[in-house]
C-alpha cells in the first residue's frame, strides 16, 4: 500500500485496503478460542461484534487466496465452540444470558468485562458472522457439519422475545445489576439486521408488530434536496448491508416511499459530502472530498483537557451530521465502507485523504479517526471499522457475503416476515 504520488488503479487501491483489513483480523485472532480484540491497543477486550466480522472475514480470505480453508475452518470452529460452551447465566461474570452475549469479553476467559451490557445488536452482528460461516462451510465433512450444527444451536438459543421486555420493540441491552437499559431503538438505525434475525428465529421469533413499531419511528426527510431516511453516523447506513443484500427489496416503508435501503445509504453517503462542503462549524480540512462522520475515537481520548466553549471535542463518540455531534473528527474507514453505494464519490474522497492526510493510514488500514482542526490522529484501529471495510469492499467487488446470506433461511424468513419483497426475494 502506498500513498506516494504514483496513482494506483481504483481496483488496486480497494484491493490493498481490503487486504489490510483482512490482515488486521489474521494478525490478531486467537488460535485457541477464535476471538479477536476490539481494538489494536494493548490490553483490549474482545468485542463480540468484532468476532462476527472475523467469522465473515475467513471465507473472504479463502475466496481471495489469503488463507487456506483449513485455517479458516479452524478459527471459525474455535470461535463457535467457545460461544457454545461459554457460561450463559444471570451471573455478572458470565459470557452471556438468554442466548445473548455481553458486548465485551475477557480475551482469555471470555467473562464479561467493564460491567458492560448484554447487547442485542452486537449479538446480532456475531450471529450474522456465524451464519456467514455456516453458509460458507458447506462441505460434507465432520468439522464443517459440526460448525453448521453449532451455529444453528447458537442461533436457536437466542431468546429474542425476552429482549422486548414486554414492550413492542426490542431493547438495546440488559445488565444483571439493573435490568434492561432505559432506551430502545428510536428512529432509523443499524437495527435492520437485528430485527431480521429476531423475526427469522425458528425458536423465539418476535412478532411482526415489533418491526412495525420500530419503523413507525422513521422520518422520511427531504434534506439538502434529497429524500432519505436519516440515520446520523454513517455506520448506521452500512452495518446491515454488510450481510444483507438490500438492493431492490423493500419493506412496507420503502414501498410507500418508492426507494430501498441501498439507495437510501447512497443518499446518506452523499449527504455527508454535502455537509462537509458546507462545513458550518468551519473545521479544518472539510470539503466535498473530505468527510466521514461515524463512530470512532476523538481528540479527548488522548487529551482530556482539550475543550472549548464553542468547539467541544469528544473522545470515542458516534458522530453524525447534519444534526451533530460534529467536533471536526473524521473517520475515513466509513468512507471506504460506502464504496458500494457511491463508488465515484468515495474513491475521490479516499484519494484526497491519502494525498492530504497520509498519516491516517497505518499498516494499510485507516485509523479510527483524525481531526485536522486539532492536529490529532488516532493511534488505534478497531475490529468493527476494519470488519465493515472488509465486508463492504467484498460485496462491492464480488457480492460474496450478500450471495451467501441470500441463501440463509433465517435471513430470508426474517425479511419476509418484516414485509420485504421484490428483487431477489
Amino acid at each position: 500500500m502506498t500513498a506516494d504520488p504514483e496513482p494506483q488503479s481504483d481496483d488496486a487501491l480497494l484491493h490493498d485496503l481490503q487486504h489490510a483489513a483482512f490482515s488486521w483480523f489474521r494478525a490478531r485472532v486467537s488460535p485457541v478460542n477464535g476471538l479477536v480484540p476490539d481494538t489494536s491497543r494493548p490490553g483490549s477486550p474482545v468485542s463480540i461484534a468484532g468476532v462476527g466480522f472475523a467469522l465473515s472475514a475467513w471465507p473472504i480470505g479463502v475466496a481471495r487466496g489469503w488463507m487456506t480453508r483449513a485455517d479458516a475452518l479452524a478459527h471459525s470452529l474455535a470461535a463457535v465452540r467457545f460461544f457454545r460452551d461459554a457460561e450463559q447465566s444471570e451471573r455478572p461474570e458470565a459470557t452471556g444470558h438468554r442466548g445473548f452475549f455481553y458486548h465485551f469479553l475477557d480475551p482469555v476467559s471470555g467473562a464479561r468485562v467493564w460491567r458492560c451490557e448484554l447487547s442485542m445488536i452486537d449479538t446480532a452482528l456475531l450471529i450474522a458472522g456465524a451464519l456467514t460461516a455456516a453458509a460458507w462451510f458447506d462441505a460434507d465433512t465432520p468439522d464443517e457439519q459440526e460448525l453448521r450444527d453449532i451455529v444453528d444451536q447458537l442461533y436457536r438459543r437466542i431468546d429474542w422475545e425476552w429482549a422486548r421486555n414486554g414492550g413492542q420493540t426490542l431493547r438495546q441491552g440488559w445488565k444483571p445489576e439493573s435490568g434492561f437499559l432505559n432506551y430502545g431503538w428510536e428512529g432509523y438505525s443499524e437495527a435492520i439486521l437485528l430485527y431480521v434475525l429476531a423475526l427469522g428465529s425458528p425458536t423465539h421469533p418476535i412478532g411482526v408488530e415489533a418491526y412495525e413499531g420500530w419503523t413507525a419511528t422513521y422520518q422520511w426527510e427531504n434534506l439538502y434536496d434529497q429524500d432519505l431516511l436519516y440515520g446520523g453516523p454513517l455506520f448506521v447506513h452500512q452495518f446491515s448491508h454488510a450481510w444483507i443484500d438490500l438492493r431492490g427489496i423493500r419493506d412496507p416503508f420503502m414501498r410507500e416511499k418508492g426507494s430501498d435501503y441501498f439507495e437510501n445509504s447512497r443518499r446518506a453517503t452523499r449527504l455527508q459530502s454535502e455537509y462537509a462542503w458546507r462545513n458550518p462549524n468551519g473545521f479544518t480540512g472539510y470539503g466535498v472530498h473530505c468527510w466521514g462522520f461515524s463512530a470512532g475515537d476523538g481528540p479527548t481520548d488522548e487529551n482530556p483537557e482539550v475543550t472549548g466553549e464553542e468547539r467541544r471535542q469528544f473522545g470515542y463518540a458516534a458522530r453524525g451530521v447534519p444534526y451533530g455531534p460534529d467536533d471536526g473528527t473524521l473517520s475515513t474507514w466509513t468512507v471506504v465502507s460506502s464504496v458500494p453505494f457511491a463508488p465515484e464519490l468515495c474513491l475521490a474522497t479516499l484519494r484526497h485523504v491519502l494525498a492530504h492526510h497520509p498519516q491516517t493510514l497505518r499498516d494499510g488500514c485507516f485509523v479510527s479517526g483524525f481531526n485536522p482542526t486539532a492536529g490529532w490522529v488516532s493511534d488505534g484501529t478497531y475490529a468493527l471499522d476494519q470488519g465493515i471495510v472488509l465486508l463492504m469492499l467484498e460485496n462491492a467487488r464480488s457480492g460474496t457475503i450478500w450471495r451467501l446470506l441470500r441463501s440463509c433461511a433465517p435471513i430470508r424468513d426474517g425479511l419476509r416476515r418484516a414485509g420485504f419483497d421484490g428483487g431477489w426475494l
Binding site: 451490557e117 432505559n182 428510536e186 428512529g187 422513521y218 426527510e221 458550518p280 466553549e309 451533530g324 455531534p325
Partner: protein, 481 residues
Amino acid sequence: MTDAHEAERAQNLHPPDRRNPTPAERYDLVVIGGGPAGLVAAREAAARGARVALVERDRLGGDCLNTGCVPSKTLLRTARLYADLRTAEHYGGRVPSDLRVAFPAVMERLRRVRARISRADSVRRLEEAGVDVFLGEGRFTGSATVDVDGDRLRFRKAMVATGSRPDAPAVPGLVEAGFLTNETVFDLTELPGRLLVLGGGPLGCELAQAFCRLGSKTAIVQDAPLFLPKEERDAAQILSDAFARDGLEVRLNTRALAVRRAGGAIEVDLQVDDHRSTITVDAILTGTGRLPNVDLGLDRAGVEFDRSTGIRVDDHLRTSNPRIYAAGDVCLAHRYTHTADASARIVVQNALFRGRKRFSALVVPWCTFTDPEIAHVGLHVREARERGIPAKTFTVLMHDVDRAITDSEDRGFVKIHVREGTDTILGATIVARHAGEMVSELTLAMVAGIGLGRLADVIHAYPTQAEAICKAADAYRRTQR
C-alpha cells in the same frame, strides 16, 4: 424581597387594603381563578355586556405573570446576554476581562419587568373594564353558587380557571432537605453556587441553562434517554449539544434516589443503569410536572374531576355540571398561557353566547425557550404514522439560512411535515434562536389551510431567519418538477 417593584406588583395584583364589592344579585359569569384564562374570560365577557365576577385567592396574573413565563423569560434574556458575552470572539468581539454576574441586579430587573407587566392585569384595570373582583378563597357551595370569604355569588354560568401547581418528585429526603420550584426560584437573592435541576422538561431545561449561564455550576438530571421527550430526537440532540457548550452537566437516563442535608450543602444520590454516584449541591430545583388545583368544592357543584389530570370537560369545555365550564391548566393537557387564553375565549362564546366552539379544532403551537428555542405545532411524524397518515418532512438547516449565518445563530433547523403526495401541512418543528417567533407563520398556515407549496409565493423579507420556511417551501416546489 420587598422593594418598590414588589410593592407595585402587590398593589396591582392583590391590594393589601382592598375590600371586596357587594355581590350582585346574580352574575352572568363567575370566573374562579385570576390567571391568564380567568383574566381573558372576565374581560371578554364584560366587554360583550355580561355581568362578571372574578375570584382570585392570591395574586391576579396567575403563574404566568408571577412565577412562570414573565419572570422566567426575563431571567433567560439576561442569561443569554452573559452567554453571548462569553462567546464574544465568535462575533468578532472581545470577551470582557472582568465579566461577572451581579445577581442582585439580575433579579432587580426581573422584579422591575414583572411589576411593569402587572399593570395590565391589575384590579383597577379589571374594575374599569366592568368586572367585579373578589379577592379571597372561592369555593362552590352548590350547583349555582360560590362563596368567597362569606360573600355568596350566584351565577348563571361559571368558569373554573384555578390553574396548576408544581408536582414534586417522590424522592426520599427531598422535602426535608428543601427544594425550589417555579413558585420560589424567582425569589432567590443569591445565586446558588451549585444547582441540581431535576427534570428535563421545558421548565427544567430553560432554567438549568439560564442558571448555568449566570454562573451556577449546574447539573440537570433526566430519567429518559433525551431531554424533552415529547420533541423530535434531532431537536433534543441539538439541545444536548447546546447544553454541553454552556458547560451544563448533563445526566440522562438518571434517577435521583435520595436527598439529604450534609452540613450547609445538599447531597443527592443518583443512579444510571447500575452505576451510582453522589452529587453535592447548594440547591435543588424541580421541574417534574404539575398538578391541577381542584380543591374548591367541585363535588358540591357536581363537577367531576381527577386529582392528576384535572377537571373533566367535553370538547366544548363544559364540565359535568352544564352551568360550569373550565379553562386553562386545571383541565387541559397542554398547560401553556396561550392555550389558557384560547380556551377561555371558547368558554365565553359557548357559555354565554350559545357558541359551539370546540377545543379540538384549535391548532396549538408551543415553544421551549432554551437557546436555541424548540417550537412545534401540529403533528409529529410519529403521530401522523400512528393515524395512518403517510408523511414527508422538508428540512432546512439553519446553517443554510443567510441571516442565521450572519448572526452566528445557525445551529438548528426547520422541519415541516406534509401529508405525502400533497402540500398539506401536518405539523412542524423549529429549532432556532427565534423558533418561538417563527412558528407562528406555520400555525397561521395550518389554521388558514395554506399548503407548503403556497408558502413559496409568500415574500419573506431578506435577510431574516424566517426565510428558512420559504426555503422549505421551495424545496417542496422542486419535488414537483
